[in-house]
Amino acid sequence: MERDREESVDLAQISLRPLQLSDVDDLMVWTTDEKVPKFCTWEPYSSKDQGIDFIQNKACEFLWSRAICLNDSAIGFISMTSSSVTDKSRGKSVELGYVLGSKYWSKGIMTYVVKQVKKVAFREFPHLERLEALVDAENVGSQRVLEKAGFHREGVLRKYLFFKGKSRDMVIFSVLSTDLNHQD
């Protein structure tokens, strides 16, 4: 956690909008930063072509996605994927994923964004029952985001995923449509 730049961010300057090709240079800032995909399945990007490919071909494959913007410049990305993609019996469940440039970590930005998206998810998808997220057991920062955003920690799935050469224990979190009625 960097403490040498203590600039706090006015969360009113944070917004969500679709990712655009013109965001590619901003996208390259977090995708080339080794710290950022440490717990992600992807490796840091090495060329702008990868950034262009993501914006043009990959971002649209998600069920829903947005660029996380600070004063309309992209500093991260948040997405939802239907769980029925991997398991046909799980059509009422959606998985949340997110990434933020490391310069913006520890300022409450991700928690703020996840809280908004939590509400958006159940509004956009009225039949949605369950929003879940899986976080590497070593990624304490991301676990805290979900806890502060009101997700329930359900357990640790041991060696649930295998990527970058090793098995990962994943902590599974969820929020149900019925939880929302009792929150915020």
Binding site: S89, R130, L157, R158, S174
Partner: protein, 177 residues
């Protein structure tokens, strides 16, 4: 019910000739209520199910008592990047409940499965929170209960909670009691 000699329990692939024994339990709603299987309604259905599903299955075994089918154990591996994990399921004929047969069968299956599926790291099982008997089978077979997944899956038309258990290739294989 008298004490069953569990050494008479064995696991083997299904055969078409199992059909009549198969129908006794696969045709029983009590047995299939906790499975994703549809209850078998006829000998023809049972034959087709053994031929088209059980025999070509990546890893499915008949639980046998004196070589007659009284249930099954099934392991379904995920594919691609997820082939490190597989789902286990099982059932035993109603007449044979309460005698430790499912536990014995799962204990026998676990080392075989890790031997047969080379990429497997994690064997997982999902049970209904109401199905206490099945949870005890997994606990006695050495699985670790990891948590309650709320409104996790569609099961026969309804969204259900699931309790998730796992057994890892690095866990100690179960011993016979």
């Amino acid at each position: 019910m008298s004490n069953l000699d569990l050494s008479k329990i064995s696991l083997r692939p299904f055969k078409l000739s199992d059909v009549d024994d198969f129908l006794l339990w696969a045709g029983d709603d009590q047995v299939t209520q906790n499975l994703r299987w549809k209850t078998c309604g006829s000998r023809e259905e049972a034959l087709a199910f053994i031929r088209d599903v059980c025999i070509p299955h990546p890893w499915r075994r008949s639980i046998c008592l004196d070589d007659r089918s009284i249930g099954f154990v099934s392991v379904y591996p995920w594919s691609g990047d997820d082939r490190c994990k597989a789902d286990i399921g099982y059932a035993v004929a109603g007449d044979y409940w309460g005698q430790g047969i499912a536990t014995k069968a799962v204990k026998m299956a676990v080392p075989q499965v890790f031997n047969d599926l080379s990429h497997l790291v994690r064997l997982q099982a999902f049970t209904s929170p109401q199905n206490k008997a099945s949870q005890r089978v997994l606990e006695k077979a050495g699985f670790l209960k990891e948590g309650l997944l709320r409104k996790y899956t569609y099961f026969k038309g309804n969204i259900k909670d699931s309790i998730v258990f796992s057994f890892l290739s690095t866990d100690e294989f179960p011993h016979d009691d």
